[in-house]
């Protein structure tokens, strides 16, 4: 029995629920609808709505057929999506869920359903689909940009695809001029004929493009007539442009240009479209950059090659570790190596051995640490010849790495000339300064420029007394005669004159001066050179001669012999000086030759040791190999004695292998440049413990490490060798029956760090302590401990290479303490 109250409540609910509800007959009559339904389809009154034909609501009648079919088959429809017409002709998307209501006989009475407006969702999906299309276009353009298509073609493609993708009337790419004072339309779509390639646009806020360059953001214009950020350029007015957007191509601080689109009708570009345009512009920027780089690369490479090979100097390019990365033919010629050989080498290999040992990264150090861009050093020719060179360094940064461009100039000639000049000047001075006379030069103004002589040399007369002064300034009235002579000499004529001077003691001294013109290489007179001789004795002799006519002969003889004696003494002195100088030169030449020979001999010895030990490896490998095969697989063919002997062969072979490895390490050490870098001791000690794992394990050795390590610069390989050998030693020479225990510790002094390696082993008695660092010094027989006698020699060599020292404190049976002293800082050279 229907309850009228419930029925009315239901009716109210039906009418007011905010979901569109309806009932229709299968024939398409609307029986009932609620207010939400009314507003969904946009009709004004319920009567009007109920009067319409339901089929007429459907945009596509197939949807209606589908609706009926579903209800017929299943009795319901779940979330069908259809398009309906609203009253004003607008189309909306709805989601329809419906049931059919049947009577007891199973006949359909009506359909009952609800509609939800899903227009906005569908539109969003459409947008999404559009966005996907733009993404696809973008991706394809990105790939296109990666091909080796030319820049004009790339730009052309960009404007075409963008104009199509966004359905705009105009698309443009404006290139910023080199002077950055205007923009040029170099690619475009839709513009009047003849504009692309010629039309110019101002920068600044005179145009949209110009304004775009001033801002970081894409510039979107809905309507140019309302724009107030910049003025609309005439070119856009002429094209009846209403809307548009533009973006920067490239980085704001160095843009390549502006990319933009325009429409003749009003258009609001949404975020997707703005992003799309910006993405195209970014791809374009990348493409332009790549092409620029490509052109630069070709240019640079050609330029670089030409410069490099044709330069008058030897040139090398090195990395931070001084490895040679490139060299030109001049360098090969200078040093006597082929290019291929040099490219395997390090700057250190080019240096003479004494410099090689001292420096870390030579070029980098000089440049970075000492700020030297030009310095002189000694290179070594392949044939051992030493070549003084001047290195001029500049640094290059490329791809995050630093390289050095080094010009190597042979300065042998310069050195020789300098040397000769110094030698001849020294010789000249020595000679002049041993002469009794005073020798001087005057410039054209009559001022003293140089003054030499024994009196100057022994300090009787001060050089300053003469230099820069005229004879008149020095001699007063007596200078007058000098002036006359000087002006005569300047005309090219030598002059000799005598003059006298009263000394402070009131005695008169007589002088003879000869003044000759001094000429330059063009034979122009540039001054005068003079010799002043004290002739007082001669004058006195003459005077005496006059005064004592009667003692004439006697006197003359006496004076003459006195004079002669003096001259002889002076001559002898000169000769002695010259001989002495010759001796000295010979001696120093011999010394330098000897030093040279010694260094060559040393080098030869080292390379001999190296090649011997290296070449020994091959036969030893055969001996070891076959002995081992015999000892394992042919053992049963040997009698017990044979078995014992073959075991000896295997053992000795292995011992010899170790010996050779150590020898090689020793002779190789120092062949490479010693590098100085901050050391990670923890890491190095970790490696060493791994190296020695089996012997540590076998002897149950305990190693105590300090908590922290000193901040030392050094060569990792060398430090590794030092500690490897010291710890290995400490393990080897442990007391029988007592597991080795090793303590490492350090102390920092002002300029160096002391590091100790202490053990509880057998110790070394004092008389041997001096010797343990020598090569092949072994204090134990093979039966006791297997050692090669090279380990501690290696330790010392490694320490010395790093400007350090090693030593030992020990007494027999008390354990040993080895110490290593290493400089904290790189030593200045």
């Amino acid at each position: 029995m229907p309850n009228p109250k419930i029925d009315r409540d239901y009716k109210d609910l039906f009418l007011n629920i905010p979901i569109a509800l309806y009932r229709t007959t299968p024939q398409g009559e609307l029986i009932d609808a609620n207010l939400a339904m009314l507003s969904l389809v946009g009709h004004e009154s319920m009567d009007e709505l109920l009067a319409i034909d339901v089929d007429a609501l459907y945009v596509n009648l197939d949807d209606r057929r589908f609706f009926r079919k579903k209800l017929l088959e299943n009795g319901f429809l779940s979330q069908g999506e259809f398009r309906l017409f609203r009253k004003n002709g607008e189309i909306i998307w709805v989601q329809d869920s419906a049931y059919q209501i049947v009577d007891e006989a199973g006949k359909v009475i009506y359909y009952e359903g609800s509609l939800i407006d899903i227009t906005s969702r569908i539109e969003a999906t459409d947008d999404l689909r559009d966005y996907g299309r733009l993404q696809e276009i973008l991706a394809r353009f990105g790939q296109f940009a990666l091909t080796d298509v030319s820049l004009p073609d790339l730009l052309d493609e960009a404007v075409h695809i963008v104009s199509r993708a966004l359905s705009v009337d105009y698309c443009k790419y404006l290139q910023l001029s080199r002077g950055r004072d205007h923009l040029l339309l170099i690619a475009g779509v839709g513009w009047q004929d003849g504009m692309v390639g010629h039309a110019r646009v101002n920068i600044g806020d005179d145009s949209q493009a110009g304004y775009t360059l001033l801002t970081d953001q894409p510039v979107v214009v809905d309507d140019f007539s309302l724009e107030d950020r910049f003025t609309e350029p005439s070119i856009l007015k002429e094209h009846h442009v209403v809307s548009g957007m533009s973006v920067i191509v490239g980085e704001k601080k160095s843009p390549y240009g502006v990319f933009g689109v325009h429409t003749k009708t009003m258009r609001r570009f949404d975020d997707y479209e703005v992003n799309f345009l910006q993405s195209i512009a970014n791809t374009l920027a990348e493409g332009i950059k790549q092409r620029h780089v490509r052109i630069d690369l070709i240019d640079n490479q050609a330029r670089y090659q030409a410069l490099f090979e044709n330069a008058a100097d030897a040139i090398e390019i090195v990395d931070e570790n001084d490895n040679l990365l490139d060299v030109n033919a001049h360098l090969c010629g200078l040093l006597g190596y082929t290019r291929e050989e040099l490219l395997q080498m390090n700057i250190a290999d080019l240096h003479v051995p004494e410099l090689r040992l001292q420096r870390g990264s030579i070029v980098c150090n000089q440049f970075v640490r000492y700020g030297n861009t030009v310095f002189e050093t000694l290179h070594i020719h392949r044939d051992g010849r030493r070549i003084p060179v001047e290195l001029s360094i500049s640094q290059i940064h490329s791809k995050g790495e630093r390289f050095f461009f080094v010009i190597v100039r042979d300065i042998t000639l310069r050195r020789n000339i300098e040397q000769q000049r110094r030698e001849s000047e020294a010789k000249f001075r020595t000679l002049l300064n041993s002469i009794d006379d005073i020798i001087f030069t005057l410039d054209c103004d009559g001022r003293h420029v140089n003054v030499f002589g024994k009196l100057i040399e022994n300090g009787s007369i001060s050089e300053d007394h003469y230099l820069g002064k005229t004879p008149r300034e020095i001699l007063g009235e007596q200078g007058a005669i000098h002036e006359i002579a000087h002006s005569k000499a300047l005309t090219g004529h030598p002059v000799i004159f005598e003059w006298s001077l009263s000394t402070t003691k009131g005695e008169i001294e007589y002088y003879q001066t000869s003044l000759s013109p001094m000429r330059d290489s063009d034979d122009h007179v540039i001054g005068a050179v003079g010799i002043r001789r004290n002739i007082t004795d001669l004058k006195e002799a003459q005077n005496e001669l006059l005064r004592y006519q009667d003692h004439l002969e006697e006197l003359i003889e006496q004076r003459t012999s006195e004079l002669q004696e003096r001259i002889e003494t002076s001559d002898q002195l000169n000769r002695g000086m010259i001989n002495l100088m010759g001796d000295f030169q010979r001696a120093s030449r011999r010394a330098s030759e000897a030093a040279n020979q010694l260094s060559i001999a040393n080098r030869e010895l080292e390379s001999f040791a190296y090649s011997v030990s290296h070449d020994l490896r091959a036969p030893l490998r055969s001996i070891n190999g076959f002995a081992q095969i015999l000892a394992s697989r042919h053992r049963e063919n040997l009698n017990p004695e044979g078995q014992k002997y073959i075991d000896y062969v295997v053992q000795s072979g292995e011992q010899m292998a170790k010996l050779i490895e150590d020898l090689l390490t020793y002779s190789r050490m120092g062949r490479k440049a010693v590098r100085r870098a901050p050391l990670n001791f923890a890491d190095i000690l970790g490696d060493i413990q791994t190296n020695l794992h089996s012997s540590i394990h076998a002897t149950k050795a305990i190693i105590h490490l300090p908590v922290a390590w000193p901040p030392i610069y050094g060569d990792r390989t060398l430090i590794h060798q030092i500690f490897l050998n010291l710890i290995d030693n400490a393990i080897k020479y442990h007391k029988p029956g007592l597991p080795p225990e090793i303590w490492l510790d350090y102390r920092i002094e002002t300029e160096y760090a002391m590091i100790w390696v202490r053990d509880n082993g057998v110790g070394i008695s004092p008389e041997y302590q001096e010797k343990v660092f020598d090569m092949f010094q072994r204090l134990h027989s093979d039966d006791e401990v297997r050692g090669t006698g090279i380990g501690l020699a290696l330790v010392r060599k490694a320490a010395v290479l790093m400007n350090g020292e090693v030593g030992i404190d020990s007494s027999e049976n008390e354990g040993s303490t080895f110490w290593i002293k290493l400089p904290l800082e790189i030593q200045e050279e």
Binding site: R617, S622, F626
Partner: protein
Amino acid sequence: MSIVLLVEDNPMDVALTQDAFHLKLPEVELRVARNGRSALDYLLGNDQYTDRELHPLPDLVLLDLKMPGISGHDVLREVKSNAALKLIPMIVLSSSNVEKDIRQSYALGANSYLVKPIVFDEFLDVVRKIGEYWLTINCRP
């Protein structure tokens, strides 16, 4: 069955390598070229090596460096500049551990550089590892 070409002039090293392969890689066929010239002839299929059925290209070349005449480096240079051969892994097996030799080998395209150990047990281990890595783990074209 993999084929390895050993290029080695020292007869004793040849014998040791054969022995080691026999022990550690019995399934590998070891062919030997006794100098650089015959290594190149074999690889290029010259003269008596024309028949690839009889003389197939190896899966791996073990190359000594120091050989009279055509050196290991020469062989490397030739092989790595030949389009038909350059994909064959070239492993230098040399007694030299001089930096220069190593750098030059890699510069010429060597795929690996191994120093011949002096102690035979270690050499056996090297041979085993060559088989394990280059013939088993490593993917070849």
